[in-house]
Amino acid sequence: MGAPAQAQNNTQPGEAEASARRRRGAVLAWGVAIAAFVVFWQFGKPLAAWAFKYPKAYAIPAQAWISSGMKWLLNEATFGLFTFLDLTRFTAAMIDIPYKLALSLLSTGFLQGQGSGAVQLLPPVSWIAVIAIVALLGWHAGGRRLALLVAGCFAFLAMFGQWDSAMVTLASILVAVPIGVVLGLLLGIVAYRWPALERAIIPLLDLMQTIPVFAYLVPILFLFGFGPTAAVVATLIYALPPMTRVTILALRQVPSEVIDLGNMVGCTPRQMTWRVMVPSAKDSLMVGVNQVIMLSLNMVIIASMIGAGGLGFDVLAALRRLDIGAGLEAGMAIVALAIALDRLSQAYAYRIAKPHHETAANKGFVARHPYTVGALAFVAVTMAIGLAVPAVQDYPDGLKVSTGPFFSDVVGWINVNFFDVLEGMKNALLLNVMVPAKRLLLDLPWFGVVVLLAFAGYRLGGWRLAATIGALSFLIAATRQWEKAMITVYLCGSSVVLAALIGIPIGVLVAERDRAWRVVQVIIDTLQTLPSFVYLMPAVMLFRVGDFTAMIAVVAYAVAPAIRYTVLGLKGVDPRLIEAGKAMGCTPWQLLSRIRLKLAFPEIMLGLNQTIMFALSMLVITALVGTRDLGQEVYIALTKADTGRGLVAGLAVAFIGIIADRLISAGARRVRQSLGLA
């Protein structure tokens, strides 16, 4: 309804004139603001030194506040009957129960006693049985093809000798994902039912997603104890927000007819939520489940640093001894797990979306549950055979394959033969683009930048946005993180530009070619789940330690959303508009630039937004190759167990992310309005 009306309005002469006047006004306002900023930057230094370097005397001692707050929580906070620490330790113990169970089933077997004195009572589920179970799940959810794919992924784990570690990782995923889904769902329902709470929850979700994990690792270790449980908690904090967001969105999209029906038959609020709303939002909710699974797998490396073990530990250990092949194998095992779990959850989402009716009520147990019975039979039979034939219980060593030193040799060969070419390319980019950009950003007065950002907020979204953005950027300066924040902006900024320059054209190229898009999809899925540490070390060998290597790692990870959203946007363009364009005799180039890209612009902006978020989330990893930004600050704080320092730097990263997000969203909203899409 809104779209055609707006389009008509735009064609009226008076309206067109007004819009042209508005545009002139905007250009003028921006011109004045930027000119004032440049003048202030060039000539302001002698007059207002405080605007260039934040005065130490007025700094907000947030680090000390947070650290002493943490001490209070640990030593004094109490609810009367029990202390805060008791509560968190109790929570940890509760999480530990399902974790131990999953671990026993998949990896250690059921044990009597602890440590080396333990006696195995019952072996873990054998590798053959696990593969059979996932294959049955695949069959149940999506038929033979899916069964083959999932079984193939798990067979890959066994063949490459990653089975034991993969099962440890799988155990922690199996615990983290259900908890994350349930908590995320509950939080989403709460936010949906009480809008006042939603306003508090949304910023919290933003922080949870943008503060680097390393920043809150130390408090988590103190509160939840050392080991896999703490890793699960850290994973939850990172992986839960998308579930809540999807829940809120999904509940809002429940058709009003359904709600009316619920009201008519006299549902209580509780019945309304659980019997009406949640079931009818089921298929959207599965998207959230899928996101929780993927983000949990992203955390595997970091979780292994605090005692989760598993594949993440193998990746780190292999790369520490520069065994690139072994690191890649362990990394690919994570990808295989991710693909299997992703496809399974998507298939179940699809199945739920298409309800099917079974009339099995009066059949026997076996007939009603053929898959369950089949899986159990397999477990029992392989366990019995496994007692006699060890190869059934554990994958035989002799059948394991490995790429051995192959990948190390490949990197070595490239290194010896092409280093000079790579070095030349790197130096050209570094000396001509990156270093000048860094100097420029570091030179800018913080005060001017804060004002300019607030101005941008005002132009795009009004006073409220201006106030939010001004306050957040001021806080970065006031906690004395400005310089590191600028290096962060420089590193992420140049990576995002590069990722967009690579990603958007690829997206344009593959959007209309389904086969190419499928190939690209596999590649970007892999890039997103393969731990970046795996390609970071070869990158160091070819490009040395420094910003360039960090940028490669960031781009490799952040290019995925740029491609994905471009394709999404282009595919979503109304085909009738394209037909209309063709009818009017547009050339393919005109079709692309005048119609398709223009209409896909909001999605592309959203992709850019996500690219920035992804780039920021890589900061901590790039700290491992020696950058000097906020990520490094967070990492140093982690190694010194300094809660305050880590969280302050982490919050600064989050603020940068939130500023970028709000500005881009506001900009995209305006564009959408002017295109008549909203």
Binding site: L121, L122, M305, R320, A623, V625, G626, T627, T639
Partner: protein, 321 residues
């Protein structure tokens, strides 16, 4: 879903039945049979040291559990008693964290492991041709020599790849104090450090970087440590000491002990284990050989540890007497 619940129920039931049938494990030592938790980090030497200790404790009848933990983050666990023993805290990189932890009274230093941490500027042997005065540090003052170590970003200064910022080491100060025409670049992790070395070594390209021992790198790559004026305490605290009268740090890095630390409650809960861990020593050469056997010859840590246990029975049995 149903599959999962069913398996879980059956399995728990089975486990319970079996648990009732079996007597609990008996131990030689009349101390607590709870597992002693030893931390494992991500470098091979530490894995070997820890498993040596663990195997010895097992021989003495203790219940041992290995837990993967981050080198510095583990102190939180050692203080709370979630973890019990950490076998390698390097004077050079872990001293601050260790001191902070022992100051709380919840963590105890169990003395040196016998291994000495060596950390210094290091270069591959083929660089000696381009800078013949090495290993004497004064050769680095020569501009031609420094330029041999330069890259496009640092030229005409030489490039020195230092350890992660978190390692400390005062290299920026050292360059300044000794007036070396070098620029210090910090690697973020030691994996990055050795990735650069491997890359340069393959191409016989110039490189000067921070190497530490015991480690597999000095065994794999031929090269030498730069000989700086020997470290003394005064050099780091008193500007007047050394060649530069106005600056500290005008000397090399300290050699340091590698320490063993434990949760303070270890002594009361497992007094015998406390004694054994305090008595544990190995030396650099032994450890270097074992690390090479694992990282370069591809043996497993378990096998290397078993070999050592077989060859040194007299030594370790004295620790647990």
């Amino acid at each position: 879903m149903q599959t999962g619940t069913f398996i879980r129920r059956t399995a728990t039931a089975l486990a319970l039945t079996a648990a009732m049938a079996l007597p609990s494990g008996a131990f030689a030592a009349a101390e607590s049979s709870d597992p002693i938790k030893l931390t494992l980090h991500d470098w091979t030497g530490q894995l070997i040291t820890t498993q040596l200790m663990g195997e010895v404790l097992k021989k003495a009848g203790y219940n041992v559990e290995y837990v993967q933990a981050d080198y510095l983050a583990q102190f939180a666990g050692l203080e709370s008693g979630d973890l019990h023993v950490a076998m390698e805290i390097w004077e050079t990189t872990g001293r601050d964290a260790m001191d902070a932890a022992t100051a709380t009274g919840k963590v105890e230093n169990l003395g040196p492991t016998g291994m000495k941490a060596k950390e210094e500027w290091w270069y591959p042997e083929y660089m000696k041709e381009k800078c013949p005065g090495l290993p004497n540090w004064e050769a680095l003052k020569d501009e031609a020599c420094a330029e041999a170590f330069a890259t496009a970003e640092t030229a005409p200064k030489g490039r020195y790849l230092g350890g992660p910022v978190t390692w400390g080491g005062y290299d920026d100060e050292r360059v300044e104090a000794l007036e070396l025409p070098f620029e210090v670049i910090h690697a973020g992790t030691d994996a990055a450090l050795f990735a650069e070395l491997e890359s340069a070594y393959q191409r016989k390209a110039p490189i000067m970087l921070w190497i530490y021992a015991p480690h597999w790198a000095p065994a794999k790559y031929k090269g030498e440590w730069v000989e700086f004026p020997e470290y003394t305490k005064e050099c780091y605290s008193d500007p007047k000491w050394g060649s530069n009268p106005d600056a500290q740090y005008d000397c090399g890095k300290p050699f340091g002990e590698i320490w063993k630390v434990s949760w303070a409650g270890l002594k009361d809960k497992w007094p015998g284990a406390h004694k054994a861990i305090t008595a544990f020593t190995v030396n650099n050469d032994e450890m270097g050989a074992m690390i090479s056997a694992v990282d370069l010859d591809g043996k497993t840590v378990d096998a290397v540890v078993a070999d050592w246990m077989g060859a040194n029975e007299a030594r370790w049995s004295a620790w647990i007497k």
